[in-house]
Symmetry: C2
Subunit: 330 residues, 2 copies
Amino acid sequence: MDRALAYYPGKRVAITGGLGFIGSNLARRLVALGSDVLLIDSMVPDYGGNLANVDDIRDRVRINFADIRDVYAMSYLVQGQDIIFNLAGQVSHIDSMRDPYTDLEINCRAQLSLLEACRYHNPTVKIVYASTRQVYGRPLRTPVDETHVARPTDVNGINKLAGESYHIVYNNAYGVRSTVLRLTNTYGPRQLMKHNRQGFLPWFVRQVLDDQEIQIYGDGQQRRDFTYVDDVVDAFLLVGCTSHTDGEIYNLGGDSASLLEVVKLLIELAGRGRYRLVPWPAEKRAIDIGSYEADYRKLTAAVGWYPRTSLADGLREMIRYYEQRRQYYW
Amino acid sequence: MDRALAYYPGKRVAITGGLGFIGSNLARRLVALGSDVLLIDSMVPDYGGNLANVDDIRDRVRINFADIRDVYAMSYLVQGQDIIFNLAGQVSHIDSMRDPYTDLEINCRAQLSLLEACRYHNPTVKIVYASTRQVYGRPLRTPVDETHVARPTDVNGINKLAGESYHIVYNNAYGVRSTVLRLTNTYGPRQLMKHNRQGFLPWFVRQVLDDQEIQIYGDGQQRRDFTYVDDVVDAFLLVGCTSHTDGEIYNLGGDSASLLEVVKLLIELAGRGRYRLVPWPAEKRAIDIGSYEADYRKLTAAVGWYPRTSLADGLREMIRYYEQRRQYYW
């Protein structure tokens, strides 16, 4: 075991969104570390909760089906936890524009009620909140560090910014210790593959595996950085077990590539697939952020984190996973 | 009439929070300019709506009592308006910490529903949204310009930031033309004087007029800038009638002074009153932002606005007003 993670054995750990993509990968690591793991998930269709994500660890975790909007259930569930990895959220940008109220209820109101619950029922807990680079909107400069002004381009980015800010305010005003991670494009095994509204990369992987034509909007030159899910799990674990990260916001980052480069790499790795450049749909263009690249040096300085997995290695692993287990995800 | 304001005669103008402090002062100017003015106000106790604010123009405006949280009433009321000055809000920082949900409903959810109403029922309207320098939190540098990172210290600052961001996103994604003004400490006639949870300055004025002891937290060296309400009204009118302000965020500013200097000036102008330095209450210290001063050059460059009224002149006018009309405000 990494010495930095010696905190976790025997600790009571809750994960909201625990049956989702990142939550379930985190649960697997915590089980291996010997934590007492509680997974909380609403199983909202289309959000990513999937029991297949935990089928190999199901007898070593507790699962509680509840929605984080359920104030009373959450007030009970937070009690006695040493740490809460707070990953539950509405993550689709386009859904937030079509139904801004649901995004508000989940990404703002439910975050407030979770924090109020901790303030009154578990004030010594540590929370790590999963936020997003979407809060920055269209960058004024890249790489983007945490002092870059936040100008979200969509309702999801606005509400996630509010959600992370609540955590920081409750840390500073009430001592509910919280750390915020701003995730960029996370990818890997156990990611939702049923629709294309939670990021383009899993959808591209699905289309390659199905030997279908990938549609790339515009010229495909827009750049993103990609973090493999195991590296994201590392970041959560590392900031969760130290108090000097309390009240802080950190970017995650990873290998940078243009969309066109990613697609070509995917096709090469899978040995099948094809693509076509198509014009931007107006609805998506309106909220697009252009090119993005994170500066994650603050997180490296704080806990020694850096992304260990190359994009090629990560995609290879992702393809391998879904080739074996597509029936649970398609 | 200022030529820049030739837009307003005959225009249909709605003001949310129209019976409040700034809304009623704005209404008075719009009536003088010959606009067709609709005042929308919820009359939530303690928020600032006061019919005495409009008693001299009451036969020249229409008044509709409704809460901006009332989706259906608002969907009807926005129809046919040329411009909406969107001033309704929960403005107390300390109240937002005691009851974060109400702040969320008013400053986030109701803003979304107003924008959705405009998107579907009045897509060509222009909106000017009253935001606050509280979105910046504790400044990293002063004077603060609009590129300064927003790190609110309280729930109100977080939710107001979300509220203004919704306006910008609806401007950019749907063409619902919106301009955001970030107000600093506004003061003047028709300001709420009943309690001390909507800013310290009106409370200081009340205490001076009542010859009571003002309590200043800490050493009184924390600085604020102060904008007289007539200057704030000018800013709303100037950005409201031009399209090159669409999608933009502007700081307002004004004379800068320490709290101690303001109190001494007030006592001098009123010819009575006294003060004492007291320790910070923990609840207030936790959300205090330290010293703040706005850089408002972006607004000057855009529409020629600058604060015309000195702090001494503005306070003199404010004292004169409340000496004559205290029975409607105390």
